[in-house]
């Protein structure tokens, strides 16, 4: 099934890329862009039929490798329609 992982840098950690993009948006007149964070999305296709089991394994992937616990939080979305 398809799994989407969103990895967000914690709000208290600087995001130099987001700051630069925000500045560019303001230069273009989009001054309403009050905050820009360049978070990451990872798309996985995972073998398995049990959504809970798939979620548990993907959580483990995030803890071990995909997210850095010092900097980042993660959220997992399992698409049960695509099994």
């Amino acid at each position: 099934m398809k799994v989407t992982i969103t990895i967000d840098r914690r709000p208290e950690i600087a995001d130099p890329e987001g700051t630069t993009v925000k500045r560019a948006l303001h230069d273009l007149g989009f001054t309403e862009a009050a905050s820009v964070r360049m978070d990451r999305v990872i798309h996985l296709e995972v073998e398995g039929d049990d959504p809970d089991q798939v979620r548990g394994r993907v959580e483990e992937m995030c803890r071990q490798l995909l997210a850095n616990p010092v900097l980042e939080d993660f959220a997992i979305e399992v698409d049960t329609e695509t099994r």
Binding site: I13, A14, D15, L65, V70, L71
Partner: protein, 214 residues
């Protein structure tokens, strides 16, 4: 007494480190990152470069290389472990040093000499140096901006300027015991006046003098 210089796919400073350590009278050999026996060695250097192409995050994949188990074991036993540039990033990812690295504050790849000041000599990188001593060493990194929400990293070298936004202007940090050190500028590239500076010598000599038989 011999140092292992671990070669990961994509690092590019391993020969410089071996050359520099040998030119200072030390013994050093390259080992492959899949090696699981470092018992012939009394210390380890993780060299700079772009292990695994920096995929995912710098150092994130390298930290799972088989040799890193040995590195952790040696670190726990008090052996000198030095991560230079990408090597520091690996040590943070591996949890052997606190914090993590993000892109430089101004999003520029910095490749120039930087002046650093010795602020703590209780580490395997700085023990032969003098507090307050200033050293000119090349910085060569995009993700040298160290952040440490835990506040537990002990800074041993501090940038005189503020090139990349690194917390506490840290250019090198150590663990509580002082035997595991991460440094962002490259001491191995400043070991001969022909290279524009020999200020890195005192740092690598510190490391060599810290090697004791395992």
């Amino acid at each position: 007494m011999k140092a292992a210089v671990v070669v990961f796919p994509g690092v590019n400073c391993e020969h410089d480190v071996v050359y520099a350590l040998r030119s200072l009278g030390g013994e050093a050999d390259l080992v492959w990152h899949r090696d699981t026996d470092l018992s012939d060695f009394d210390g380890v250097v993780l060299p700079g470069g772009f292990a695994h192409g920096d995929a995912l995050r710098t150092g994130a994949i390298a930290r799972f290389s088989p040799a890193m188990g040995e590195v952790a074991r040696m670190a726990a036993g008090g052996a000198p472990v030095l991560g230079i540039c990408n090597g520091w990033q690996m040590l943070c990812e591996a949890g052997l040093l606190p914090g993590a690295h993000i892109a430089n504050r101004d999003l520029s790849f910095i490749c120039r000499f930087e002046e650093v000041e010795v602020v703590d000599t209780n580490s395997v990188l700085t023990r032969a140096a003098t507090p307050g001593q200033r050293l000119r060493i090349p910085l060569n990194s995009y993700e040298g901006n160290w952040v440490d929400p835990s506040g537990t990293g002990r800074v041993v070298l501090r940038y005189v300027g503020d090139p990349n936004g690194s917390q506490e202007r840290a250019a090198a940090i150590t663990n509580e015991a002082g035997n595991v050190v991460g440094v962002m500028p490259h001491p191995e590239r400043a070991t001969d006046d022909l290279l524009g500076s020999s200020d890195g010598q005192v740092l690598l000599e510190s490391f060599l003098h810290s090697l004791v038989p395992a």
